[in-house]
């Protein structure tokens, strides 16, 4: 898949939150309100704030935003298909025209990303869309453009992955030998490299498959289960009726049929 992604180098992030500022500007949110949102939730994300900076260790910061999973739980959860992985850009996109506000995506996301505009009377879900509108014009996402310290790199996911692996495998590098986002929950478009552990960002272990993939057999089994139930009920009915006929139980059955609910016999 030739989708785009963002590589986050945690060692380069100073935690200055210029990316948050840029995101706020691009998405035309009220910067004052966005700024106070950091106190309202543990991870700072909100119905106005699509990206936040979290301290992950002493002197180390990392961005938290939608990771744009390759097998997104939110897209599997949404009953109207308002969330979809865009094959071209790699972004997981939200279509407010379809959403009915059931908030299952918020419950299903492994990383606690989708947020809700709770204070509005007709609220919608809010999350990072990797600035697909800017991408269409050939620009980088606003956060990447705003980062002065090269902590964020935008590019094709394959290239980024290669670059990340080169960086961490340089002799004498202090990086943890792991690219977060390479395989976790089936891979994500955002990749992280770091010299400290990033479990503060809800990362599961690298071998964790995505829940949506695990649940797929259950989804596929649904019509089979339905057909099995119907056939077994019809079969049981046929067997029992036949047995009753043989045993002469029909008269008993006929007596009950003049009730309000009854069956055709």
């Amino acid at each position: 898949m030739s989708a785009y992604g963002i590589l986050v180098d945690v060692t380069k992030c100073t935690g200055c939150e210029k990316c948050v500022e840029a995101c706020t500007t691009v998405k035309k949110e009220d910067p004052k309100k966005v700024d106070t949102d950091r106190y309202n939730a543990k991870d700072g994300l909100s119905g106005r704030k699509r990206i936040s900076i979290l301290p992950v260790a002493e002197g180390r910061f990392a961005r938290k935003s939608c990771l744009h999973c390759d097998e997104p739980n939110c897209a599997a959860a949404c009953l109207v298909g308002a969330l979809k992985k865009d094959e071209k850009t790699g972004a997981v996109l939200y279509d407010p025209k379809k959403c009915i506000g059931c908030r299952y995506c918020m419950l299903a996301c492994t990383f606690h990303i989708p947020r809700y505009e709770w204070e509005k009377a007709l609220p919608y879900v809010v999350k990072c869309d990797m600035c697909v509108d800017r991408q269409a014009k050939g620009d980088k996402p606003a956060c990447v453009e705003a980062c002065k310290y090269n902590a964020l790199t935008f590019g094709l996911r394959e290239d980024l992955l290669r670059k990340a692996k080169e960086t961490i495998s340089k002799p004498g590098s202090k990086y943890v030998q792991r690219v977060w986002g390479e395989t976790e929950v089936g891979g994500t478009s955002l990749l992280y490299i770091s010299d400290v552990d990033l479990s503060a960002l809800d990362w599961p272990s690298p071998t964790t498959p995505s829940a949506s993939k695990l649940a797929m057999p259950v989804v596929k089994a649904t019509p089979v289960i339905g057909a099995t139930v119907i056939t077994s009920l019809l079969g049981i009915n046929w067997i029992i009726k036949r047995r009753m006929k043989l045993m002469g139980g029909e008269a008993e059955e006929g007596a009950a049929s003049d009730d309000a609910i009854s069956h055709e016999d």
Binding site: C16, K42, A77, A215
Partner: protein, 659 residues
């Protein structure tokens, strides 16, 4: 009508009207203003209690259909009607509650046209709404009462197929309601998360739903028990004489009910096996011994939903007695509801890092919808003789509905009911006002708090530099004493401006990123040396051995922790509502750096305007390329202080040393 019934109906009416108020408020003001839902707990009472538990308790509708029309067990026939009406009103109220729960209620029809076949919720939506329609169709002949014989005949003819399709849809959506949580393996508490959760939901719903039917049947008999009626108040007795025909103490369906309990027990046993196998397989049985909220909830839930009913059913005498069946039915239904609450609400507390308690409005709407369903159910039960098919069913016409000969309508509407109505209103009004009041206070999120709060004596300041509601305690009085009492004000308050323009903490407490930074060894030693100053406070703080282990080398490792002396003054302030850092190391005040960060940046931003410079509030002004981790012996960065002092000379000083 008996007195019990009258009281129950009054309570139901109060709840229903209260719920109506809540419903109007919810539609007017939106979800955020009226509920306690949050990003961390996006699903609350309306979804979990009304939908999940409500649907689970309504399974008797399709189960009785299977038992009677597929297995041809005629002795259960008299229970089909109450069961189908439980399904109709159970599902009806659930769907109605969902209408309030979704954020955009006017778009509830979207799933009809916009499909995502991979979504469990999509399947639930379709199966539930289709099953609701089928249950409604099944109940139609009872309601129509042979008034439209053609419709009745068509449904009579199709009832077997309706039952089969309904049973299929029910099997699918009850397991899918469980599958909803297959997507949350990292978030749901391991005691409840299980790959087998669809099967667990299906079996527990069938077992619990049958027990609920048993309970409803017996409770209705109890409510109608004429034993108490001679003592009933005057109005109810007069109007309801016709209803109080000498009903026999015995309930004709009792044998059928106890057989039903056995069927329920079979399903509950399967459920129990699934639960136990899952606990062992996933290894989550270890959480049971923890003794925390979750283990207790789990044990209570399992005992109520499964073990108690199974125990009652296992004893023959209890199984055949009215009391035994009632208790089994009640515990089984409550346990089932608790299970759904555990899975949908309590099981997410750990992940959310906070407790979700439904708001008053959530409670009132939730209970109001249930109460409304109960009222309509009772209305049908009385007018259509749901529980008493053998007797001559009265033909209902519009006339009988509005001028019933003997039913509650006249009791409520007639002159004798006036007192009752006024009582309901007297109870309702304050409740409505409370609901209004509870829903209007939504301004919490927009308040920006000052970074410094003081207690009344100004002995302690709480500095919350970055306003995260985690404050550093600043012992103002103690600082004052250590620095030389009244004469020492200028040490910090050298710019004596309004607001918090004092010397920042870091100017004395140097190594601001080091964990032990709050501790300044030199200062502690000098205080030990100058005993005079400490005599009044800590006379024991005099020698190295007071802190350090005399045997070992004198290092930080051999010293006692700060907290051993500073018990009171180093506790983290938690009274600013939102202070939940789970792994706070209590040995040093964690928000210390954040407090200073907030102060620095604020001051820098102000100063760069004053000095006509730019970039002073940029991160890189203090933080060099890469993250800022100061070296161990890095000297105090005096540059900002110099700028500050320059500014002081130019600016006016309105004296006074207000902390």
């Amino acid at each position: 009508m008996t007195r019990r019934m009258q009281i129950l109906k009054d309570i139901l009416w109060i709840l229903a009207i209260w719920g109506l108020v809540a419903g109007v408020l919810r539609m007017k003001m939106g979800l955020g203003a009226t509920t306690n839902l949050s990003d961390a707990m996006p699903w609350g009472m309306w979804k979990i209690f009304n939908m999940l538990a409500g649907a689970a308790l309504s399974t008797s509708g399709f189960m009785l259909g299977i038992i009677v029309y597929v297995f041809h067990r005629k002795q259960f026939k008299s229970l089909v009607r109450p069961a189908i009406f439980i399904a109709v009103f159970g599902y009806g109220s659930s769907l109605f509650a969902l209408l309030f729960d979704i954020g955009l209620p006017h778009l509830f029809w979207h799933p009809v046209f916009m499909w995502n076949l991979h979504s469990f919720l999509f399947e639930v939506f379709w199966c539930v709404s289709m099953y609701f329609s089928i249950a409604a169709l099944e109940s139609l002949p009872v309601i129509l009462q042979d008034r439209f014989p053609s419709i009745g005949r068509v449904i009579h003819g199709a009832v077997f197929f309706l039952v089969v399709i309904g049973a299929t849809l029910s099997t699918l959506h009850h397991s899918s309601l469980g599958s909803l949580f297959l997507l949350t393996p990292q978030r749901l508490h391991p005691l409840w998360f299980s790959p087998m959760i669809p099967a667990q939901f299906l079996t527990s719903a069938i077992g619990g739903g049958l027990l609920f039917l048993i309970f409803v049947r017996l409770a209705y008999a109890w409510l109608h028990d004429p034993g108490l009626s001679p003592n009933a108040p005057f109005p109810t007795r007069v109007c309801c004489v016709a209803d109080e025909k000498p009903e026999s103490e015995k309930i004709p369906e009792l044998p059928a009910l106890s057989k039903l309990a056995v069927i329920a027990a079979v399903f509950l046993s399967i459920y129990l096996v699934l639960k136990v196998v899952d606990l062992i397989q996933s290894g989550s049985w270890r959480y049971l011994g923890k003794g925390d909220l979750y283990s207790w909830l789990y044990l209570i839930e399992i005992t109520m939903a499964v073990i108690a009913p199974l125990g009652i059913v296992a004893v023959g005498a209890a199984r055949r007695s009215k009391a035994g069946l009632t208790v089994a039915g009640l515990l089984g239904s409550l346990g089932l509801a608790l299970n759904r609450l555990d899975v949908g609400i309590f099981g997410f507390f750990q992940d959310a890092g906070k407790i979700y308690m439904p708001s008053l409005l959530e409670w009132s709407l939730s209970l109001g919808i249930v109460a409304a369903a109960g009222i309509v159910y009772l209305f049908f039960a009385e007018h259509l003789r749901l529980f008493d098919e053998t007797s001559e069913a009265p033909v209902i016409t519009l006339k009988t509905i509005f001028q019933p000969p003997s039913q509650s309508w006249r009791a409520t509407m007639g002159p004798v009911g006036a007192r009752r109505i006024s009582l309901i209103f007297v109870i309702m009004l304050p409740l409505a006002f409370v609901s209004l009041g509870a829903s209007s206070g939504d301004s919490e999120g927009d308040v920006v708090k000052p970074p410094i709060a003081l207690d009344q004596t100004r002995a302690v300041l709480k500095i919350d530099g970055d306003r995260r509601d985690v404050a550093t305690i600043f012992e103002h009085v103690k600082h004052q004493r250590r620095l030389g009492d009244k004469q020492s004000c200028q040490v910090c308050h050298h710019i004596a401006k309004p607001d918090d323009q004092t010397t920042s903490c870091w100017q004395c407490h140097t190594k601001m990123n080091a964990k032990s930074d709050a501790f300044n060894h030199e200062k502690h030693m000098s205080w030990v040396a100058e005993e005079k100053k400490l005599d009044g406070f800590y006379p024991e703080n005099r020698s190295c051995v007071f802190c350090h282990d005399p045997a070992g080398p004198k290092s930080a490792e051999t010293a006692k922790s700060c907290l051993e002396c500073h018990k009171d003054d180093m506790a983290i302030v938690k009274d600013w509502a939102y202070a939940t850092e789970p792994d706070v190391d209590i040995r040093y005040p964690i928000p210390y750096r954040d407090a200073m960060h907030g102060l620095c940046i604020k001051c820098h931003a102000a100063k760069q305007v004053e000095l006509g410079k730019t970039g002073m509030d940029e991160c890189a002004h203090c933080h060099q390329q890469g993250a800022y981790v100061p070296a161990a012996d890095e000297p105090v960065d005096v540059e900002p202080q110099v700028e500050e002092n320059e500014a002081v000379e130019g600016s006016d000083t309105d004296s006074g040393d207000n902390p």
